[in-house]
């Protein structure tokens, strides 16, 4: 098992190198002269030259790349032009907000999609099977920011059930003392149930928006995998032995059908991390996505670069985690390694 994890980690290294090279070239590709760009619009030629030397832009490309990698190794992602803060600090304080939202969105999506897929597969061509298909097709066709806005309109404006879509916590409450950075967990640790409820209320709509968006691939894959497993010999044998339908479906069929579903999670994360940016904008969520969007609009490039790099590294790490999880669930994968 350990050798498998080590091998898989070695496979992630070329991806990480690729990510670093691409983000480096994205800074090189800035429209016009990067030095003039970083010096600001009012800079004199002398000031631009100064910035050029300061940023090392007068050196050969290979040396610049070396410096960039050394900076990265020291956790230096540059400073934001608008706030003057180091990008890494801001990303670190904002990351828990994004992570809490994304993970809850994924949880919502799994909780709806997996049972839906199982039921659809056990009753093919039934009403619920068709419902599953319609829901998942509609889910991929809906722009995620549009779903969010519709939910806000219905649950905030019309029904008044949800709080205003403005951030992680209502202004009446103090943020819980930081332990994990996840308000739901921190508030419980600090024994502040009212803060827990308040932050949950803020989370429900954005998490549901993300959940609806990522529902389709999970539901489709669960259905397809369950259909394949249910027609296999060992399920027939289990049924013939007189096991209850529930045992057959849950502990025989579903455990085997889980594997392809976990594989699709990689793709689902690619969608979720992208959709997160849009959902954060709709709900004024103070995460890294809205930080990047604000920086983009202010033509402040260092935060955007840091954001793209962080997201890509997280995505590579998540894919690694999924593969390891796969090995834990399926002993056959371990043997092959």
């Amino acid at each position: 098992m350990l050798t498998m994890i080590a091998k898989r980690m070695a496979m992630a290294i070329p991806s990480l190198i690729g990510v670093v090279v691409v983000t480096f070239f994205l800074t090189r590709a800035l429209p016009g002269d990067p030095a003039a760009y970083f010096a600001g619009p009012a800079a004199t030629p002398a000031a631009i030259e100064q910035v050029r030397v300061k940023l090392g832009l007068d050196r050969p490309l290979v040396e610049q790349f070396g410096r960039y990698v050394i900076d990265l190794a020291h956790g230096n992602l540059g400073d934001s032009l608008t706030t003057g803060q180091p990008v890494l600090t801001e990303l670190r304080t904002r990351l828990p907000a994004s992570a809490e939202l994304t993970l809850l969105g994924l949880l919502v999506s799994i909780l709806i999609a997996v049972p839906l897929g199982i039921v659809a597969a056990t009753r093919p061509n039934s009403l619920i099977d068709h419902a599953c298909r319609v829901v998942s097709t509609a889910g991929v066709s809906l722009p995620v920011f549009f779903t969010g806005l519709i939910l806000v309109y219905v649950f905030y404006y019309l029904l008044g059930w949800a709080p205003a879509p403005l951030g992680r916590l209502d202004v009446f409450y103090d943020t819980p003392p930081q332990v994990t950075g996840f308000y739901l967990i921190d508030s419980l640790l600090a024994r502040q149930p009212e803060v827990f409820v308040a932050s949950l209320k803020q989370l429900i709509l954005p998490a549901l928006t993300l959940g609806i968006f990522s529902l389709a691939p999970i539901a489709r894959m669960t259905r397809a995998a369950m259909l394949a497993v249910l027609s296999s010999d060992f399920v027939r044998a289990a049924r013939a032995s007189g096991l209850s339908p529930f045992t057959v479906i849950v502990s025989y069929a579903f455990r085997n059908a889980m594997l392809p579903v976990i594989t699709t999670l990689g793709m689902v994360f690619s969608f979720l991390l992208g959709a997160n940016v849009l959902v954060e904008k709709v709900f004024a969520w103070p995460g890294i996505g809205s930080y990047a969007v604000e920086a983009l609009l202010a033509s402040d490039f260092a935060p955007v670069q840091g954001f793209v790099l962080t997201m890509a590294v997280m995505y590579v790490a998540l894919n690694l985690l999924i593969d390891v999880l796969y090995g834990l669930i399926d002993p056959r994968v371990r043997l092959e390694a």
Partner: protein
């Protein structure tokens, strides 16, 4: 008549294709519906600016933020512009972005993939490495980074959308070319003295073509969503240009105060367009490759 890509067509290719298309549409009314919707979208894209009742840019502050009524079917926005006219006129730009980016990646990704699958060796390694690197990013995030770096223009949105779709096309084209590189008809062509490039152009490409066309219609929906998402966060298209993503962004502020029509109708237009392309893609796949029918 199961696999039009491989079977010879004695009675003329086009007639057989039309007959087969009619059969598939008759078999699956959903595809027929999607095709009708597609024709409607193309008409709106081509004729849009000539058929709308109002100028999409003309503001009329006396009529600002009126709910849908007999004069303004989709209501008016904060500047009194007719939302219906703006939604229809926007079709052309959104459709153009999607078609242009998909066509670009179709040519570049398809060719790179076919070359990788046919030549193998270092061509394969380079194309594979490029595709893997792109896949290491969450796609929308990479598109954001590209547009931010290259500059905030519609051309760069097209380019970014094409780049993030590259791995998909390259991989499919590679796999399809790879299984055909040792096929009998390729061997025959080689023995009769054709060069590699000639075989690639006249034997391999025509066979991979239909599969990539299906992929095109399947990714059109994603391309529209990607472009609309980028303009929603303020990249690419700038106001007052009518475009669905930016219209939803502008209408978002009014959603919390109850003026839903500003964001609702452009959002619905987006959804209908994406839905149409997804259905059409499924239908086309059935037509080209009946084995993968779900």
């Amino acid at each position: 008549m199961t696999d039009i890509a491989a079977t010879p067509r004695p009675d003329g290719g086009l007639a057989a294709l039309v007959r087969h298309a009619r059969y598939v549409i008759g078999e699956n009314p959903v595809t027929g519906f999607a095709f009708a919707l597609f024709v409607l979208i193309v008409l709106a894209a081509v004729l849009g600016p000539h058929i709308v009742p109002y100028d999409p840019l003309a503001s009329d502050t006396a009529q600002a933020l009126k709910p849908p009524n007999a004069h303004h079917w989709f209501g008016t926005d904060q500047l009194g512009r007719d939302v219906f006219s703006r939604v229809i006129v926007a079709t052309r730009l959104d459709f153009f972005i999607a078609v242009a980016s998909v066509a670009l990646v179709f040519v570049v990704g398809g060719f790179a993939g076919v070359a990788a699958g046919f030549f193998g060796d270092w061509t394969d390694r380079i194309v594979g490495r490029v595709a893997d690197t792109i896949m290491a990013f969450p796609l929308f995030v990479l598109a954001m980074g590209i547009v931010a770096a290259l500059g905030n223009t519609v051309q760069n949105i097209v380019l970014a959308t094409a780049i993030v779709n590259f791995p998909l096309y390259a991989r499919i084209a590679r796999a399809e070319a790879n299984i055909r590189r040792e096929a009998g008809f390729v061997e025959a062509a080689r023995l009769s003295g054709n060069s590699d490039w000639r075989i690639l152009a006249f034997q391999i490409l025509p066979n991979v073509f239909p599969i990539l066309v299906v992929q095109m219609s399947l990714t059109m929906g994603y391309a529209i969503l990607n472009a609309a998402g980028l303009s929603f966060i303020g990249l690419g298209v700038r106001p007052p240009t009518p475009e669905w993503g930016i219209m939803v962004a502008e209408g978002a502020t009014f959603m919390v105060s109850g003026e839903w029509w500003n964001a609702f109708f452009p959002g619905m237009a987006l959804m209908v367009a994406v839905f149409c392309f997804n259905l059409l893609g499924d239908g086309l796949r059935d037509m080209v490759d009946p084995r993968r029918r779900t």
